[in-house]
């Protein structure tokens, strides 16, 4: 059984069909890519999976549980982590706190046990700090662990967002355009990091606007166009699919 399966999902905005009866499956331990021209409905699909928005019809299953009616935070508690297309870093916290806040669902303690600083909280805070530093180290951000997150350059913030999503130890990681705005070196670092994540047993589902990085790391690719799934398969097959070429060329011509 696949880790995530989407069945016949539809979403409309003011009569415009953003997604039209999409069905998709993401296998456990794989890296799946989702590509398509602007306005194809990629980010909408991610919003529906992570619970930022609710579908009009259709069902989403995660680990064989239906999650389509769950709240966003309940879904993340089940193990769906995500990053955002428009960077959503918490600029009012330090870098290390961003990572530690990402661990929120794994740390125990409520209002009172935190307020009274009980020994259990003390211990878990200490461990969280240690673990956060380890994550920062793996992202080459340890040197800046105590600067405000808003002061980092864009590429580092992107990495930090990835680190924050990793800190919650998700089973399924939704990456919404992780490579946009990154320099070539940073992109290299990113794809290495994603491959490394897979080895740690995390399934990744990546939306990417430009093909290069997805073709390189994904096991399987789905192509959305105008809210419809026009192709699905290995990178090689997708690259040669005439419909995909058509969709992308059209997009290019329109923007030129």
């Amino acid at each position: 059984m696949s880790l995530l399966s989407i069945e016949e999902i539809t979403k409309e905005y003011d009569g415009i069909r953003a997604l039209d009866r999409i069905s998709l499956k993401v296998e456990k331990g794989s890296i799946k890519g989702l590509i398509g021209p602007n306005g194809a409905g990629k980010s909408t699909l991610f919003h529906l999976i992570s619970g930022v928005e609710k579908p009009d019809s259709g069902k989403i299953y995660f680990k064989e549980r239906e999650i389509s009616s769950m709240q966003s935070h309940e879904r993340s508690t089940l193990g769906i982590g995500r990053t955002f297309q428009t960077l959503q870093i918490w600029g009012n916290m330090t870098v290390v706190e961003n990572i530690m806040a990402g661990m929120n669902r794994r740390l125990k303690g409520g209002l009172f046990s935190c307020g009274f600083w009980l020994p259990g909280i003390r211990r878990s805070e200490k461990e969280a700090l240690k673990e956060a530093k380890k994550i920062l180290n793996s992202l080459d951000l340890l040197g800046k662990w105590e600067s405000m997150a808003s002061q980092l350059p864009y590429g580092k913030q992107k990495l930090l967002e990835l680190g924050r999503a990793l800190a919650m130890k998700p089973e399924l990681l939704l990456l919404d355009e992780p490579a946009s705005g990154l320099t070539f070196n940073e992109m290299q670092q990113l794809s290495e990091r994603i491959l490394q994540i897979r080895q740690e047993g995390v399934t990744a589902f990546i939306v990417e606007h430009h093909m290069g990085i997805v073709m390189e790391i994904a096991d399987e690719i789905a192509v959305l166009h105008n809210g419809e799934l026009i192709a699905e398969g290995t990178p090689e097959a997708v690259r040669r699919n005439p419909q995909v070429i058509e969709a992308y060329l059209k997009g290019k011509r329109a923007s030129a």
Partner: protein, 358 residues
């Protein structure tokens, strides 16, 4: 009660700035992670708070600091909700009023001991905040501000109209002094230690919250609710928790207030109180726990100093607040230290410039 005498400006008034300055000795960036831990500096503040009323043994100063302490408790709770969770509440004075009236009614009508009334005040404020907060915390920004404002007004109307229980517009008189196991807090000095003791307790609680997982969740909610919920933070719940906690703080403050003033009347909890409390949080500095305390001391002191100018006091007050907001946009508690250093540097350089050395 000791009569507060309206004398002319005394040099001693300047010394009220000293505790303010002590509070402002916060490091340049209180937002940094390790700065959120308790430091040796906090012991220094604690010493200053304990010694201040003994050094200035003036009942008027004591009374002023009692009021400042009560407002600081109120501002501390609001600061968790506004400064950390990034929400806005203009109905905080109502919870203060609920606390004050709970104590007033329990002690005068039913002759409860003040200590029990003190806890009951916090509980009643928290329970009401829970039922108010559940529906209205779904609102954001201006709408939340309006809804909380409306709640404050409704509270005032209820208090004014239910004459049998609350004494209507006249209020309730003769609330007994606060007493614990037979020890009566009957002088301003004793009340000073009472309020500041409560304040320190609540401050430690808040500071622990802020440096733990809860504080990070609050900051996350303030920065981006979508990101917060996508990382497993239950946004509605944490907002409600901190709203209820702020109300409980206000309940404690209200209880102390009615015991100190020995009167509870509706005028004390109107919008005329809400605005200064919000100002204390903003002036003190958002997202910083020392700020609201500094803001509370500053505003209480300012209102007292200006009260001798009678009808001119409000315009002067307004102008001072505007100037403070212009020159300390992120709060006195946050940046005073930096600003003072900057100013000293500026003067030193100016002197050299004038001498032609630059």
């Amino acid at each position: 009660m000791v009569e507060t005498k309206k004398s002319e400006f005394r040099k001693r008034d300047f010394f009220y700035l000293v505790p303010l300055w002590l509070l402002s000795l916060i490091a340049p960036d209180p937002y940094l992670y390790h700065k959120k831990e308790f430091k040796r500096k906090d012991l220094f503040y604690l010493g200053a708070i304990c010694l201040a009323p003994l050094i200035w043994s003036d009942p008027h100063f004591h009374h002023l600091m009692v009021l400042a302490g009560i407002y600081a408790i109120l501002a501390l709770g609001l600061s968790l909700f506004m400064g950390y969770a990034g929400q806005i509440s203009l109905g905080h004075a109502a919870f203060f009023g609920i606390g004050a009236y709970t104590t007033a009614i329990l002690t005068t009508h039913y002759a409860f001991p003040t200590l029990i009334a003190f806890w009951a005040s916090a509980v009643s404020a928290a329970v009401i905040a829970y039922f108010i907060g559940r529906p209205i915390l779904k609102l954001k920004g201006y709408f939340l501000a309006l809804a909380t404002l409306g709640f404050g007004e409704i509270f005032l109307v209820i208090i004014r109209e239910s004459t049998d229980l609350t004494g209507g517009v006249i209020g309730i008189f003769g609330i007994p002094w606060f007493s614990v196991m037979g020890f009566v807090f009957d002088t301003y000095l004793k009340q000073y230690y009472l309020t500041w003791g409560v304040l320190i307790g609540l401050f430690i609680f808040s500071k622990n919250l802020v440096r733990s997982k809860v504080g990070r969740a609050l900051l996350a909610v303030a920065a981006s609710e979508d990101a917060a919920s996508s990382l497993g933070i239950n946004v509605p719940r944490i907002k409600l928790e901190v709203f209820v906690l702020g109300a409980a703080f206000a309940g404690f403050a209200g209880s102390l207030f009615s015991c100190v003033m020995s009167i509870a009347n509706p005028e004390a909890f109107s919008l005329g109180l809400t605005v200064p409390i919000v100002m204390m949080v903003i002036l003190g500095g958002m997202g910083n726990l020392y700020g609201p305390i500094a803001g509370a001391i500053l505003l209480t002191w300012l209102m007292d100093i200006l009260s001798k100018y009678q009808e001119y006091s409000l315009p002067i007050y307004g102008v001072i607040l505007i100037l403070l907001l212009i020159f300390f946009p992120d709060g006195i508690g946050t940046r005073l230290n930096v600003r003072v250093i900057y100013l000293i540097g500026y003067w030193a350089k100016k002197k050299k410039r004038d001498e032609g050395k630059f």
